[in-house]
Amino acid sequence: MNVSDTSPIIETSGLSRKFGQKLALNQVSLKIPRGRVFGLVGENGAGKTTLIKHILGVLKAERGSVRVFGFDPVADPVAVLGRIGYLSENRDLPPWMRVDELLRYTQAFYPKWDPAFAEELRNQFGLDPAAKIKNLSRGENAKAGLLIALAFRPELLLLDEPSSGLDPVVRRDILEAIIRTVAEEGRTVFFSSHLLEEVERVADDIAIMFAGEIVLAGTLDDIKDNHHRLILRFESPQASAPKIPGVLSLTGSGREWTVICNGSRAEVMASVARAGGKIMADDTASLDEIFIARAGAKNTGKE
């Protein structure tokens, strides 16, 4: 199958999955272009890992479809998995292996494995080649997983909660540097995280998942440009949250209230004026605030 460079590297369409009665993924449709860093954010149980497992072909789509490099990952595991470097959230490396065995074993599956690069990364991560995986700390385990995911310079780097277990220094200096380097080489990074600051620092595109659904997706710049944090002041103290249509979240008490809204600011301003308030400040909302506002809006049924 010929897949052009402009076609999306990952494409899901109407992807749904149920575990018993729980709807883990609901009509998830995503297109992830090549050469970008894509951050998937969501609270625990939102469906991030389930989506990643579908991309890997570890779960078969119950409804909808998944295409990675233009292939179905369940039907063509070799064509897909041979081009993906994957770091699992569960750090499920075989505990009985030694680090050097893990490297030699993994190397056999990837013709593009770069031994010099692998050795460089091993030194950088400070991993003892004779150490058994089961004796590694959680952080070292994550580093070993990252090493085998990177050493063959995959076209797609798929990281499930990569920061989990890494200390802040490693997270900032190594992980983020690696992600940026991979992206600069024209390859694609897809990573999930609930550390929104981290996503904000490295991602080009993001998607926010909530209860199995993508509630927001787009480039980080667009999303931030479209969301505003407004500080409102009212003439008299408000006993309860003022009713302002079109806002995602409203917090505060008395006379001063903070609003997170998206889309047309003019409409919000008109609504605020009708409610008897004034806009005192207008800032760009942080990703953290956007996420909380979106999750809250989803919970209260505003979306």
Partner: protein, 561 residues
């Protein structure tokens, strides 16, 4: 739950209730049916030594036409309840060593107990007491409810105090050697063997008058060691025993070994599967066969006597059973889901399956090489009088079985391989229709086996005549079913691109070669005998075919949820 003791007991019960209930049902099954079955086949359970009874019966047959299968069936009926009793008691003892099945720390004591506000002494004493009660109850169940045959070699099984001592020493060994898994297994084997077959040792007979003192001393030492072991684990000092002895294999390794690089993905996956499953199965067979032989050889050599014939016979039967049983248990072991690390390999399901089957083939072959070598050693050193009296002098042996020994060995290897390799298609399919099919096949095989054993031991009855009349037809139907299922499975696997056409062709070649290698000599030897068609169909069923096609289909389910 008002007290920690009740909470601990509840945890043991809730974690292992299925296993404990299985043990209970097995005991009840034997209690209800075993003595009736033995009476029906003419096996005298009141004989002072069941093996003597067997030899007498075999000698009586020599006047007419002895049926070697009848003797073998009696031997099976004698050994079956004893084997089940030993397995169930060892199983309950293992449950109360309280080792975790956490893959990161396999068979180590669960550390979470040390975060509970209970003293180590409380924990150790409750686990020892509840273990003793459970082992005692299971022992009483076997000895009081089931009419067990008496076998002199296995007299040690009929001693409740021995089982309690074994439980406490097992707890002591497991807890105090938490950091040395291989040393632990070795020591457990040696201790179990010494305790369970002690009546055979001359030096033990000298101590027979002081049995109670010996056992109580061992129990006290075991309790103290168990407590000290738990205390060490609790405070993270599990490696710091003053003697610091460990078996060399468990030592830390700093140098690198193994191939520098793998030539192919198939070679890498084979290595992975061997390290993950194959070597464990092979090492288990080695330990379970070598330790008893090493322990018994000096005794057989130094003290040859009237009873060493029984010991040799028992040891040979045990050695023949070990590879098959260990591979069978490997075959039925399962994981809820396929480990993600394996599922993420850029390999087709067929390639993963082929690696697993190759590993099990290697393990089966190596296991049988070791086992046969050890049987050879036992035959050289031991006393073969009982085996000769019951089996080797029978005309069936001389005319038919002897020329077919290499073929039978090949059959054993194939059977062992097939048992172990079943894991490839049932290992990750728990609770699915595939697992139910496998369960059905096992029940069919067990049912047919029992019916056959009953028929060969129960002469001149309508059951025997009817059974042997319908057996060829039944087996022919199973052969046909096997081919139909194999064709369906291979077509489905090829259609879904789970297996390469070349792999299928190669395996069909292997299947045909193995089947011919077993079938042709049997047909040649039995060419002038009538009524052998059932045996030929049985051989066609022996070499696995359909499951080779089913394995990648089953794996697909396990791999892709």
């Amino acid at each position: 739950m008002n007290s920690p003791a009740i909470a601990l007991t509840w945890e043991v019960w809730s974690r292992h209730r299925k296993r404990l209930l299985t043990v209970l049902f097995v005991i009840l099954g034997f209690a209800l049916f075993y003595s009736k079955l033995c009476a029906a086949i003419g096996l005298n359970l009141d004989s002072a030594n069941a093996l003597d009874f067997l030899a007498e019966k075999a000698a009586l047959m020599h006047g007419t036409r002895p049926e070697i299968f009848q003797v073998l069936a009696w031997l099976f009926f004698i050994c079956a309840p004893l084997a089940c009793m030993v397995i169930s008691l060892l199983y309950v003892a293992w449950i109360f060593t309280f080792t975790d099945l956490n893959p990161r720390e396999p068979f180590s004591f669960p550390k979470r107990f040390f975060t509970l506000p209970i003293s180590t002494w409380f924990l150790a004493s409750r686990l020892i007491a509840s273990g003793t009660a459970a082992v005692g109850l299971v022992y009483l169940g076997w000895t009081r409810l089931v009419h067990l045959p008496q076998v002199r070699v296995f007299e040690g099984f009929n001693d409740g105090l021995t089982w309690v001592t074994l439980l406490i020493l097992s707890q002591a060994i497991v807890w105090s050697l938490d950091a040395f898994p291989f040393t632990r297994v070795l020591l457990l084997m040696v201790v179990s063997f010494f305790l369970l077959v002690h009546p055979d040792f001359q030096w033990y007979r000298a101590l027979e008058a002081h049995q109670l003192t010996v056992h109580l001393s061992l129990i006290i030492i075991g309790c103290l060691l168990a407590f000290a072991g738990l205390e060490k684990i609790r405070h993270g000092c599990w490696q710091r025993w003053f003697w610091e002895w460990r078996f060399p294999l468990t030592g830390a390794r700093t140098e690198l070994r193994g191939p520098k690089s793998f030539r192919s993905t198939a070679q890498a996956q084979f290595w992975f599967e061997w390290k993950r499953h194959g070597r464990k199965v092979f090492y288990t067979v080695c330990v379970l066969t070598a330790v008893p032989v090493l322990v018994m050889i000096p005794e057989l050599w130094l003290h040859p006597g009237a009873e060493s014939g029984d010991t040799t016979c028992g040891l040979c039967v045990y050695l023949l059973a070990v590879p098959l049983f260990i591979h069978f248990f490997q075959g039925i072991s399962y994981e809820r889901t396929m480990p993600q690390f394996t599922a993420n390999r850029p390999l087709t399901n067929g390639e993963i399956v082929v690696a697993q089957w190759k590993v099990m083939a290697l393990s089966a072959v190596l296991s049988w090489i070791v086992t046969l070598w050890l049987i050879g050693v036992v035959a050289l050193v031991g006393d073969l009088s009982v085996i000769k009296a019951t089996l080797l002098s029978a005309p069936e042996y001389q005319h038919f079985i002897r020329p077919l020994i290499p073929v039978m060995l090949l059959g054993f290897v194939i059977c062992t391989w097939a048992c172990g390799a079943d894991r490839a298609w049932v290992g990750v399919t728990m609770g699915t229709w595939i697992h139910r099919i496998y369960g059905t096949i096992i029940w069919i095989v067990l049912g047919l086996g029992c019916a056959w054993l009953f028929a060969v031991t129960h002469r001149n009855t309508i059951f025997r005549q009817t059974f042997f009349q319908i057996l060829p037809g039944l087996l022919a139907f199973l052969v046909l079913l096997k081919f139909v299922l194999a064709q369906w499975a291979f077509r489905a696997a090829l259609k879904k691109r789970l297996m390469a056409r070349l792999t299928v062709t190669r395996y069909l070649g292997i299947w045909a070669s193995l089947t011919v290698a077993v079938l042709a000599p049997v047909v040649f030897v039995y060419r002038q005998e009538s009524g052998m068609i059932a045996l030929y169909f049985g051989i066609l069923l022996l070499v696995p075919l359909a499951r080779i096609g089913f394995a990648p289909l089953a794996l697909e389910r396990g791999r892709h949820g």
